[in-house]
């Protein structure tokens, strides 16, 4: 997917000015940046929720179609069970009820919620709700995945559990993913590449990460150096 020379301004506030960025097919691009520098705008343009003032978004054939969007909050339907919340995301694509139910069940098992599928969102903890949202995002047969800080404001243990659930599902069904976060560590652990916003014209930093995801350790010298340069860029932005 490519953002080609996109511009977007809210009144006098210019967010993007002929900004270009490319995400390699079936990889995760982590996007970090200070608040108000266009991280969510970038996702919304990718999702087609807002249109750029100029410029285009080019998607490859296999990235066209539905989108899975993981929001900052789980956005579950409050009157439907965990199971129905996931299964509903499949209805437009799978007409066979049995296949649909099996698929929903599979993703709920993958996030460890098979025993809670009869519960309603208000009966779940915050972490469980976000796991349902992850299961729904993967159950939805999309080609493009957009993540808007879905792990923010969670304690470290829960964050690790959710990141692991996410990665397990992503490895099973890799999709082009744009992952927006405030946290440089999260960005490095999940991304195949990391990009830092802060200048409307171009990314302040763009770095590929060649270490395989399952071999990454945040104590690793290369990753520590990348984290330090990300932090430095963010502070200077």
């Amino acid at each position: 997917m490519q953002f080609q020379r996109i511009s977007k301004a809210y009144g006098q506030n210019c967010i993007f000015d002929e900004f270009s960025l490319e995400i390699t097919k079936r990889t995760i691009l982590s996007v970090v940046g200070p608040s108000g520098e266009g991280k969510t705008t970038l996702l919304q343009i990718a999702a087609g929720l807002i249109q750029p003032d100029s410029g285009i978004v080019i998607k490859e054939v296999e990235e066209e179609g539905s989108i899975s969007y993981l929001f900052q909050e789980p956005r579950l339907l409050p009157f439907s069970t965990v199971f129905t919340n996931v299964e509903l995301a499949l209805r437009s694509f799978l007409s066979n009820k049995k296949e649909r139910e099996e698929s929903a069940l599979h993703y709920l098992r993958m996030v460890g919620l098979a025993d809670s599928m009869g519960l309603y969102p208000d009966q779940l903890s915050g972490g469980m709700r976000q796991r349902v949202a992850i299961a729904r995002a993967f159950a939805h047969p999309s080609k493009l995945m957009l993540l808007d800080e879905p792990f923010q404001s969670l304690d470290i243990k829960l964050k690790v559990t959710l990141v692991n659930s996410f990665l397990r599902l992503w490895e099973e069904s890799p999709r082009t993913t744009l992952f927006v976060t405030h946290d440089p560590k999260e960005a490095i652990l999940l991304g195949d590449a990391v990009c830092c916003l802060g200048d409307p014209k171009k990314p302040l930093l763009y770095q590929q990460i060649h270490i395989p995801r399952n071999a990454r350790n945040i104590g690793d010298q290369t990753l520590l150096a990348l984290e330090a340069s990300l932090v430095q860029t963010l502070v200077g932005a």
Partner: protein, 262 residues
């Protein structure tokens, strides 16, 4: 709060109300101004035994239900449309404001000039009850969660699925609150209109006749019947809402059970 504690509080506050009534009656010492509990309950038993009692109550109930159903159907449709289209909401605003502000008696008196006595309660109740229901439904549609709407769009949840799993459940609380308030309003207006227009049968007609003959015990007996009708309406609503919630949970649980068994 436990249900026992709730019941005890309700019991004692009702008993206090009856005690106030009895004390007032003893102090005034006048069967015309305020008869005591005993004579009123005797009059009530006597009324229930008389043959036209059922016809009187039935006529009022039919008028109230007719108006109520017309209000619910029309205000729901128009309220949903106004919630979705701000221009329609704006166009309806003067009508709704006038209906909310106009005194009940003005409507009843005007309706009495225009229609026959049997139609007046129906017409007046409609005009008074419509804005109550309309405001709730319109507000419900407007307050729909924009974020959930966006989620439904992105996850391709459309049409029937969106209606059943999102739109109807999110509107239901507004519908129940609006219906309850409307029904309470409808009882009051229908009976008030019957008092003024005196149709052949009706709780309000009987009240008016009793008042003319200074039979205060009968006026109070009919008032108690009107209160009972309102309370029964509320109870019916609560039971209906409870049964629907229970049924939905049962259907959901059954679905999950079937799916997990594969």
């Amino acid at each position: 709060m436990s249900s026992l504690k709730r019941s005890l509080i309700l019991f004692f506050s009702s008993a206090f109300l009856l005690l106030l009534w009895q004390v007032g009656s003893v102090m005034l010492d006048s069967q015309i101004l305020l008869p005591g509990l005993g004579p009123v309950f005797s009059a009530l038993v006597e009324l229930v035994r008389q043959k036209p009692f059922t016809t009187n109550v039935f006529s009022t109930v039919v008028r109230a239900l007719e108006s109520f159903l017309i209000i619910v159907a029309s205000a729901t449709v128009i309220g949903i449309a106004a919630g979705r289209y701000p221009l329609l909401s704006l166009a309806l605003k003067p009508f709704v404001t006038v209906l909310k502000a106009i005194p009940v008696m003005s409507i009843i008196l005007l309706a009495f000039i225009w229609f026959t006595s049997g139609t007046v309660p129906l017409f007046s109740a409609f005009l008074m009850g419509f804005p109550v229901m309309y405001v709730q439904i319109e507000g419900g549609v407007r307050q729909k969660d924009r974020l959930l709407d966006e989620m439904c769009r992105l996850y391709d949840i459309h049409g029937k699925d969106k209606l059943i799993h999102y739109t109807i459940p999110s509107l239901l609380p507004f519908f129940v609150i609006g219906s309850r308030a409307t029904l309470s309003m409808v009882w009051k207006v229908v009976i008030a209109a019957e008092v003024l227009t005196v149709p052949r049968f009706g709780v309000g007609s009987r009240m008016q006749l009793a008042q003319v003959q200074l039979e205060t015990d009968q006026v109070l007996s009919w008032t108690l019947i009107a209160i009972l009708l309102t309370a029964l309406g509320d109870l019916l609503f609560d039971s209906l809402a409870w049964s629907l919630r229970k049924l939905k949970k049962h259907v959901d649980a059954r679905r999950v059970e079937c799916s997990s068994k594969g």
